[in-house]
Amino acid sequence: MKVPAPLVRLWHRLGSPRWFFETTAPWLPWLLGFGVVLLGAGAFWGLALAPADYLQGNSFRIIYVHVPAAILAQSCYMLMGTCGVVLLVWRMKLADMVLEAAAPIGASFTALALVTGAVWGKPTWGTWWAWDARVTSMLILLFLYLGIIGLRQALARPEAAGRACAILAIVGLVNIPIIKYSVDWWLTLHQPSTFKLTEKPAMPPSMWIPLLLSVLGFYALFIWSVLQSTRVVVLERERRTAWVQNFAAEQGSKA
């Protein structure tokens, strides 16, 4: 199989943190702009224009922040697992930096999904917490994130921490489907599936289009945050190189 030449070139360039730092700088305002516009439109549409749900009333409008947060929580872990593979197989430094930058952001989205789910549960189920399959899987995902963050903080040397976190992220990625299926199966064994938070037979377009918009907006803002955070990690890890020292001096003379 032949890999197209531009992809090969991109792959080699990704080996250079400096190239990454300089290339991504102009992307940031665009990502922020797309994110704010998409999420703003989705949220406004969802809050003010979409019709109320015939069963849940207006509390269903939480869906427009809850579901994107949950989707991002899972996407972020997949990103981290992928970075783990890239780091261990190709020893690409940048993968480790993304892995470090993404972990707290993924954890924050997971926690957000849990909290908004609990707040949504109160008017819908009449309780803040129910051992629903999705809620339980999300809680376990939060523990997986906390494990990776904890391991990185505990290991002092960045190189050791990076590779150890990569192994843990891969082990977690392999286990996530297993955890998810076992939890699903376990809870269907125990309760008939009356608690379904997001599965609706058919959502009218006036309800799902804003959801799509806010999911896309969340993605843009997530990429924006991870890029920014990765850029800082690049600076910190490469602080002994000439280009970072020049960059710091330039920023200093501007300020």
Binding site: L88, I140, F143, L144, L146, G147, G150, L151, A154, L155, R157, E159, A160, R163, A164, I167, L168, I170, V171, G172, V174, N175, I178, I179, S182, V183, W185, W186, L189
Partner: protein
């Protein structure tokens, strides 16, 4: 030396070392029995209350006592420098890891499984669930040791890695816990338990062929980066 020779050589060395310190082997077991003693005292001594909880209590106690034994899995090798030799020796590290895990399981998981029928009786575990739960523990505790070994290897260079180790491995233990406890529920309901036991067996096989490589990788990171 051939591969089986390497494995058994390491197995004999580790086994002899473990037998020299029987206290270390006995501690997790004593902990297992102790946790199980606490439950009737903390919840209720009545068998009607205990019976539905029994399998869950047995499994959670098994999870925790496995966790307790994990910290020492590679610690002494690291402190004495034998870990460095193992990693740098050029012998397949995976074999040494497998031998160590087998010794560890024989010292903790196996006796724990053998004790389960007795402790199950003390917890009023329904009779029809006794042997299925024991079979579940026999298949599930190797998974716990294998997955736990990954956490132990990742935290081997930490002075006080205990709490972090728990955070790393307990979420990974959850599927085993779920399958293990459901065996008891199915048995009490008179349903076949073989499919779930087969899943546990499949999990053990999967962990057996993947986890040693992750452990070996984590150990070499710990050695290479000091």
């Amino acid at each position: 030396m051939k591969i089986p020779g390497l494995f058994w050589g390491q197995f004999r060395r580790d086994g002899a070392l473990a037998l020299r310190q029987p206290g270390e082997l006995a501690n997790p077991l004593a902990f297992f029995v102790l946790v199980i003693t606490l439950f009737p005292l903390g919840v209720s001594p009545e068998s009607a209350v205990l019976a539905p909880l029994a399998a869950g209590v047995l499994w959670i106690a098994a999870l925790l006592s496995t966790l307790l034994g994990l910290e020492g899995l590679f610690r002494r090798d690291r402190d004495e420098g034998t870990l460095e030799q193992l990693v740098l020796h050029g012998e397949p590290l995976v074999l040494a890891v497998l031998a160590r895990l087998l010794v560890h399981w024989l010292g903790t998981g196996l006796p724990l499984t053998l004790l389960a029928p007795v402790l199950g009786a003390m917890l009023a575990l329904p009779e029809e669930a006794r042997w299925p739960v024991t079979a579940g523990l026999a298949l599930g505790t190797p998974i716990l040791v294998l997955l736990g070994g990954v956490g132990a290897a990742l935290t081997v260079s930490l002075r006080s890695g205990g709490v972090l180790l728990a955070l790393l491995v307990l979420p990974l233990f959850i599927p085993v816990l779920i399958l293990g406890v459901s065996v008891a529920e199915l048995a009490v309901a008179g349903l076949p338990t073989a499919p779930v036991l087969a899943w546990l067996g499949a999990g053990a096989a999967l962990a057996l062929v993947t986890a040693p490589f992750a452990i070996a990788g984590a150990l070499s990171i710990a050695v290479e980066t000091g």
